[in-house]
Symmetry: C2
Subunit: 581 residues, 2 copies
């Protein structure tokens, strides 16, 4: 045992106890006759004191040689501190050191090991093992563990069984984003790393394991957006003999449990809105409902005058920005420029100030009178002092631009408080979405999602209108989980593959084992998967997932610390029966 | 909700309750006017009754169409069973069915869904989702979950933090057994799948995360012996500021906790023996100590006569097989043939019967008198009624052959009772072992293992004699865990790489990040890893790990259910910048 206590637990109740501590030198202050050292470990910081008059000479002298991040072990007496520090739990005491061993020296780290470090992202990633010494990263990892344990306990207590599904699975021709693994023993053949354990969890349902979960790594070889990782972790869940209502209740329960246990926050029953409602009301399918600013559709009250821009538009739609009537012309112009950026894509923006006296002042006063504008205010739920912003154009594009503006305004107005949690369910997703590029329909979730029985007939006539028994859990503007009731009979699954443009042979080749399984008595089943990285980050009040992953990869999929991926030698390639192109 | 109860929970306390159940038809017995169906789900079996006089006609008729493994939902009344079945928890009741829905039909399964199935290994693997419906497999998976949860709870309660380390890591030229993953975004470069998270857990220690664990998949692309898998699961653990004693105590505590919680068995403090003692006493480093039969070395008491075989041997060594003096000549000859098989490799075997009257009868009576044989009996701890078997030859080979015989005899004598658990620690492993093929020393555990400080000097003079701070936990003749105190300073690590024959450049290229990390204040640390698959199998009283893995691969590394690995198409190869050789 290198220590009797850790650096976070000693307080005035330990005074006059002899203790042994071990840790890193956070900093030292040499006053000549007196030398203070802050000793740090995972649990906190404890102040050490080396005193010319009270410490042995050799120990006192050695203390002067300590550099930042040296690893030391000290023995000493807990004494009361003269200048107490109320900001840390150990602030009442210090250790008068009698013995010291330098366990390891340290060269100067490339950035400061402080909460606010001077190190940029790149250098922190290269020396991630030093970055992890910093509280923000260390605490994020501890927090992640806590969340994962709570998930496991909650689901285990409900009789869910965690089953490990394989990582070396089958590559499918559709799996353009599969990472593949050449097989040495099976020449010319490849495994794939799973993008999700989807088919395995369905097979577990066929196998009678009626409540399954797994916290599991998944892999996707795609061009990485800012906050994506090629390997990511899911809380993957599936149940048999359930309908959608059961799934929503169970996993709403899990999320509510996490919010209570981890954050101490009680939330009401989650609102449920349909996909269509979400799109019409918030312009996207993962609305942030911590704040209001619902869309008001204005076609009826804006297309009766001589304003050609609105009259030509498929959709005229506005939102009321609370208390923004005081925006200056300059601020408004800046916002108009913002929505006209290519990433947002609006061609212009109309605004209406809702004055305190109940009158309106708009950029289209030439076309619309006070009565018209009052109707707009009603439709957007604007109050005196608010500012209405109106966009127009093709419906999809316009909604999506207004959604971006809504989020931007909320950010500027401080309405996206990370300490507030507003979860909801979005249900009734479309089964299919039309892909312009390939000119055919794709599964919006995946090809195993069950259409709503009442919409089955539409598959032939109006496929885009078919709704699925599919649902997403949304938290603070992020999709944190999603799933569906699955198809569980071979006939419907075959039909589904047909509509998705699979030939019989392709379907057989890729999913034959699943179709086979469905013949042997598959129960009704469904499930969902949470993205753990994102869930943990949001619960932790952060926007970015990277600090909640111990060793993340950068945007090129590289681990800059270990320098991976890297070249492998000819001999190894030969054994794998492949060569470089 | 498809059910109000499951098929394992109803008993006489539920009589006259209306219930809804869902599950699979295990079997049905049609007596004409009466039809019994055993309904099965994950939790048990409940008997359904369809009665011509009490059930509605349509329900009664439909019940006659049910085939094995049909999935049905029934509503009915819990009634007392006339012929009670004391063997199952639901044996007091049955359900008089009033409504029935066939949720899914089933074709006849390729093997019976019974504890003792008629299906062989191959067919069970191909239809693993049906195999999982069988109790032995289902219960093994539930058992595995229970063990994993207990491990997590125990370690979490001790402040261990589970940290997920990456799966896409760096391939090393030494990593001939690495599975590799071509990178699409980094042309000509490859990730490797980890054989263990060794370096990452050490970096976490450098990062101050002083108690780490992870239940994690590891990968090894090697020719598979009977009971190995290309992907396997480890309970991977590491601690900082500890010495060997701390590690042994913590993980002995974990194992003792598992035995108590899972098996209800209290075990004493684990015996600790050295590697040298294990080899001399049991002929191998993972002795099964559920039974005795320790080796007795006989050189001193067997090389003084005119028996040339023994006199020429490096080692003469015997064991006493308890109560085997009654073996017939035929049985003895069969055993001699057994040890002469190439897998065991003995060239012959001498035996001594310890008669009830205290006299001895041996196959070498020509050379040795009663006094000699009494000394052999003393050395092997043989009692009257035992049989001593003696092998001779080169020390290593002879020990290993006698070890095989010891295990074989124990099996035949029923001494390997799977309900008995005899854990122990084997410590002081050699640091290095000589590899005949390459003509140099290799690390016995891995190159990060710390030599015992007092043996450091031997590295130059007699490397094979250097002992490591390395230890294995052994349970019932299986190594279930192993680990070591690690090197934590750059200088020793560099020295170690040198002795292992790495050039400076090779060491830098492969482990540069670790050597760098050691410069920034690495704490003393060590750890171990348990093989979860094996641990669970042994705790479950089984010899084979396969039924404790949901979807195992066969000896060629194939998943015969999903037919992986498989060919991938040209387009995908192109995107990965590789081609087949």
């Amino acid at each position: 045992m290198y220590r009797s206590h850790n650096c976070g637990e000693l307080n005035s109740s330990h005074i006059n106890t002899e203790v042994t501590l071990a840790g890193w030198v956070q900093k030292s202050r040499d006053k000549g006759f007196m030398n203070w050292v802050d000793l740090r470990d995972r649990y906190g910081i404890t102040q050490l004191i080396f005193d010319e008059s009270r410490s042995e000479k050799s120990v006192f002298e050695k203390a002067k040689t300590l550099g930042r991040e040296f690893v030391i072990q000290v023995k000493g007496m807990v004494i009361e501190r003269e200048a107490k520090n109320k900001n840390i739990p150990t602030g009442e005491i210090e250790i008068l050191v009698t013995e010291m061993t330098i366990l390891n020296e340290a060269i100067t780290p490339p950035f400061t090991i402080e909460d606010e470090t001077d190190g940029g992202e790149d250098i922190r990633m290269k020396y991630r093992y030093l970055d992890i010494r910093r509280n923000p990263v260390k605490n994020s990892l501890l927090f992640r563990h806590k969340v994962a344990m709570e998930v496991r306990k909650y689901l285990s207590d409900l009789d869910f069984c965690e089953v490990e599904t394989p990582y070396l699975i089958k590559s499918t021709p559709e799996g353009a984003r599969d990472f593949v693994v050449p097989s040495r023993m099976n020449e010319g053949q490849f495994y794939a790393l799973p993008q999700s354990p989807q088919t395995f969890k369905q097979l577990l349902m066929v196998g009678g394991m009626d409540k399954y979960f797994q916290i599991v790594k998944c892999f996707r070889d795609e061009d990485l957006r800012a906050d994506r990782q090629p390997e990511f972790t899911q809380i993957d869940c599936e149940m048999a003999f359930v309908d959608q209502e059961d799934i929503l209740n169970i996993f709403e329960g899990l999320t509510r449990h996490l919010l209570l246990e981890i954050k101490g926050i009680e939330v009401d029953k989650f609102p449920r809105i349909t996909y269509d409602y979400a799109i019409k009301t918030y312009g996207n399918d993962k609305p942030d409902i911590r704040f209001d600013m619902k869309f008001g559709e204005l076609n009826e009250v804006a297309q009766h005058k001589e304003f050609p821009v609105f009259n030509a538009a498929e959709l005229v739609v506005g939102i009321a920005a609370p208390n923004c009537a005081t925006y200056t012309r300059k601020e408004i112009d800046a916002l108009i420029d913002w929505v006209k950026r290519p990433q947002v894509g609006a061609s212009g923006m109309v605004y209406v100030k809702c004055e305190a006296d109940g009158s309106y002042k708009s950029s289209v006063d030439k076309f619309y009178d006070q009565e018209d504008l009052a109707k707009w205010a009603k439709a957007t739920n604007a109050k005196a002092g608010d500012m209405i912003f109106v966009l127009s154009g093709p419906a999809d594009k316009t909604r999506s631009a207004l959604s971006a503006l809504r989020m931007e305004l909320a950010t500027r107005l401080g309405l996206r408080n990370p300490a507030v949690f507003a979860p909801l369910w979005v249900v009734d997703f479309p089964l299919l979405e039309f892909d312009e590029e390939s000119g055919r329909y794709h599964a919006m979730h995946h090809p195993f999602t069950s259409p709503k029985p009442e919409d089955m007939a539409l598959l032939e006539t109006d496929p885009g209108k078919v709704r699925a028994n599919a649902y997403d859990m949304v938290l603070n503007g992020n999709e944190i989980g999603g799933g569906s009731i699955r198809i569980h009979d071979k006939k419907t699954q075959e039909l589904m593959f047909k509509y998705l443009g699979f030939t019989e042979e392709e379907a057989r080749n890729q999913f034959g084992f699943l179709m086979d399984a469905f013949q042997y008595g598959a129960p009704p089943h469904g499930g969902l998967a949470f993205g753990l990285d994102r869930l943990v980050a949001i619960l932790g009040g952060q926007e970015t997932i990277r600090d909640f992953i111990a060793f993340p990869k950068n945007n090129s999929g590289r681990d800059v610390m270990i320098d991976a991926p890297s070249a492998i030698d000819e001999k190894q390639l030969n054994e794998l029966h492949i060569k470089l192109k």
